[in-house]
Amino acid sequence: MSGLGEKVNELLFELGSHKIPGLPLTNYMFFLLIAFVLTLVFFLVASRRLSMVPKGIGNVAEMGLEFIRDNVVVDVMGPEGKGFLPFIGTIFFFILFNNLIGLIPGFKPGTGTMGTTVTWALVVFIVYNAIGIRKHGAWGYLKSFYPPGVVWPLAVFVMILELISHFIRPLTLSVRLFANMFAGHVILGIFSIFTVLLFQAPGVAKVMGLLPIAMQIVMYAFELFVAFIQAYVFAILTAVYIGGALHAGEH
């Protein structure tokens, strides 16, 4: 098993974001663009011929959107949240397409770099705070952090904690998505390295190379699951945050 360290370093460099020579893009921006075009084309094709009974790709798109509407938007925010379906649906499908193209060998998920996920988390942060301020007014929204019916030293302490947990939200939101996608690709890469090194090994050790291949198949299936779950979790947390801003001061 010689050369493991170098190969791991090579993998980590490859998974880091670096410029594509000759283009004003980094490798992750390139795959983000692919996912963007893919999402656009998917929905343009799906909505080309609208009918009461959708067929083919339109059916898939409708199923996905209905899932978001019923299981994410209405479940978390109630019927008044239906107006936010376009925002949350866009987030869900864009992240999903990003995660899925990352599973094609040789491709990377646009979400596998911190830059992308921090941007989205900040967009979500600004949007839900803006919604809260528009609904309750700036002072009313700020006041909703102050718990009523508690002695004031404790209430101020709780308010500070609430504010801290508020500002930590974009951090956890972005780190969760980034780390899940990144870790998945590191694991798949490490098992490929094991496979290659074991097949290069002399004698009987070659047979052992089949084990990492089996593990890779299992991990690939798991990554497929994670791709869906992470898009779902990002969408549902966005819904929870917007719902919290809408009902600020009622808890």
Binding site: N71, V72, D75, V76, T172, V175, R176, F178, A179, N180, A183, I229, Y232, V233, I236, L237, V240
Partner: protein
């Protein structure tokens, strides 16, 4: 010396950081199954809540993961 210590630190950061969330995720999953068995008609809403709690618990483990990478790069310099 710094390099090998930082590798050790990175491993420990992720390994120890994963203990708590692992227990938490196990409890979340177990309790959700328990509640679903008790009230199958609530399964949909329980699942939604479960994923929210799961995501919050998981984020802590992933902070350890990111920290591990930061520590590894400290050693590389």
């Amino acid at each position: 010396m710094i390099g090998s210590l930082s590798a050790l630190g990175a491993g420990l950061a992720f390994g120890l950081g994963a203990i708590g969330p692992a227990i938490g995720i196990g409890m979340i999953g177990g309790k959700t199954i328990e509640s679903m068995a008790r009230q199958p008609e609530m399964a949909g809403r329980l699942q939604t809540t479960m994923f929210i709690a799961l995501a919050l618990a998981e984020a802590i483990a992933l902070l350890g993961f990111v920290l591990a990478f930061v520590l590894m790069n400290v050693g590389a310099k």
